[in-house]
Symmetry: C2
Subunit: 249 residues, 2 copies
DNA sequence: TATTTGCATATGTACATACATACTAACATA
DNA sequence: TATGTTAGTATGTATGTACATATGCAAATA
């Protein structure tokens, strides 16, 4: 298997190399904790310099897909909990990754006037109507989350989009809008009548409630999202590592 | 202000440079979003190569303490929400950072035999007793969290430690044990009689429930922690940014 | 005046090179 | 046999160099 790096492409070589590495280690043959070829040989095979290759490797090391050990080699990490990126999977992607088919129970689009806090967050005229998307989603057995999303008018959503597709996919491919930063607040609340009905549970059941403020790469507000999760069928997982001291080569 | 990098020190130059940069941007003079000197000049002043300096800068860029812009310069980030590190503040530190005085309502230390899951997590003999620490903490108005912690016997805790001090501070300075990785699961539950009494709330109130698995730098299990938070007085906040595409130079 | 052009600046990418250091395994020695 | 030495290998650190590209400003132009 020889790789092709295009030296004339406008895409930086280390980005191309990174992509190739990702493909390489995704291959079942490599899963088991195998070692990569050593940096010098691999650089030669890819026809790039060792420094450039190391840039690519460093990215994957940071993501904990690879582990380097001086004097030994670079190994593919066996078990991948895939920490941070997890936070950024949308609901459908998240479920797909676990092999759970998603079912849409309700999907309602409307144009509403924002309340004061929301108009303030978006930095828009409180009289300007914004798109509100409500969805109840879950598995075959029943619903387990109720989402309410409000979108900034800047995006240009019409309301006619196919919201069964992954949300962030729609924003990226159709509206060239990239969600980059998310601030979330998680708390617990009790289900009232309306929530209990939507989620097919009892009034007074414990729900996980998540507010999410989503920003684009320029830190401009994009989306305000509320999520009500049935606590017995969902846990929110976080994996965080301390700031490390080691660095690039 | 001239800096000193010690070329004879066993500490890598880029690590020394990183430390100097941290000191530099910590200086009030630099807070306001000022630009660093350009890489070439700065490298000259530090008497290191540009590549080495970039290694140091990259670390801080990754931590979002610095922002680089091609053709413009490298700027100190103004507002620092300090995303990731936040996850790593202990309760008392977290409260201190918000200027809220912490009050300890209960503190109970005991030696218990682990249940099967716990013995398995720690990888120890299920008959070996381990240290269990229970704490109810909150503000002046009342309690708002009930913690249960189990510690791995390897650490060497005796049970006589002053657990009013920040926990991770005790582990680090007195037991040379550094908590490095945490895996958390957050869900919502209803308060039963026992929990309601401890947290001075009603039976059936919504609580935020957090399980935390803590590991050291060698990924050895250190602590298993359960936290029950009164939902009306606490929200769990997460700030996460997407994986970036840029890399080292 | 408004717009374009071009230069200076700073970061981004890429390479070749050299030596340091951690680890492994094979070999030699007591 | 047990132990210490050594050679080989792979990553870690560090430098110097060159050119690419994005940005902002100032001068030239319509």
């Amino acid at each position: 298997m020889h790789f092709k790096i295009n030296h004339k492409s406008p895409i930086p070589l280390h980005v191309q190399a990174e992509k190739l590495l990702r493909q390489l280690i995704a291959d079942p043959q490599y899963q088991a904790g195998k070692f990569l070829p050593n940096e010098i040989d691999l650089a030669k095979r890819l026809a790039i310099s060792r420094a450039t290759l190391r840039q690519a490797i460093n990215k994957l090391v940071y993501e904990e897909l690879l582990v380097r050990k001086k004097g030994v080699g670079t190994k593919v990490v066996t078990k991948k909990f895939s920490s941070k990126s997890n936070n950024w999977l949308s609901f459908s992607q998240e479920m797909a990754a676990r092999g759970i088919p998603v079912r849409n129970f309700e999907l309602h689009v409307s144009w509403v006037v924002p309340n004061d806090g929301l108009a303030d967050f978006f930095g828009i005229d409180p009289n300007q109507k914004i798109l509100k998307l409500e969805r109840v989603r879950g598995q075959a057995e029943g619903p387990f989350v109720y989402f309410i999303s409000y979108f900034h008018p800047r995006i240009g959503l019409t309301g006619d989009e196919d919201f069964k597709r992954p949300l962030y996919d729609i924003l990226e491919s159709d509206f060239n809008t990239v969600a980059d930063l998310s601030k979330e607040e998680i708390s617990a609340i009790l289900a009232d009548k309306s929530l209990a009905e939507k989620l097919e549970t009892d009034v007074g059941a414990a729900l996980l409630f998540r507010k999410r403020y989503v920003f684009d790469q320029a830190d401009r507000p994009l989306e305000y999202n509320l999520g009500y999760y049935k606590a017995d069928s969902f846990v929110y997982t976080v994996e965080s590592r301390r700031q490390h001291s080691s660095a690039t080569g």
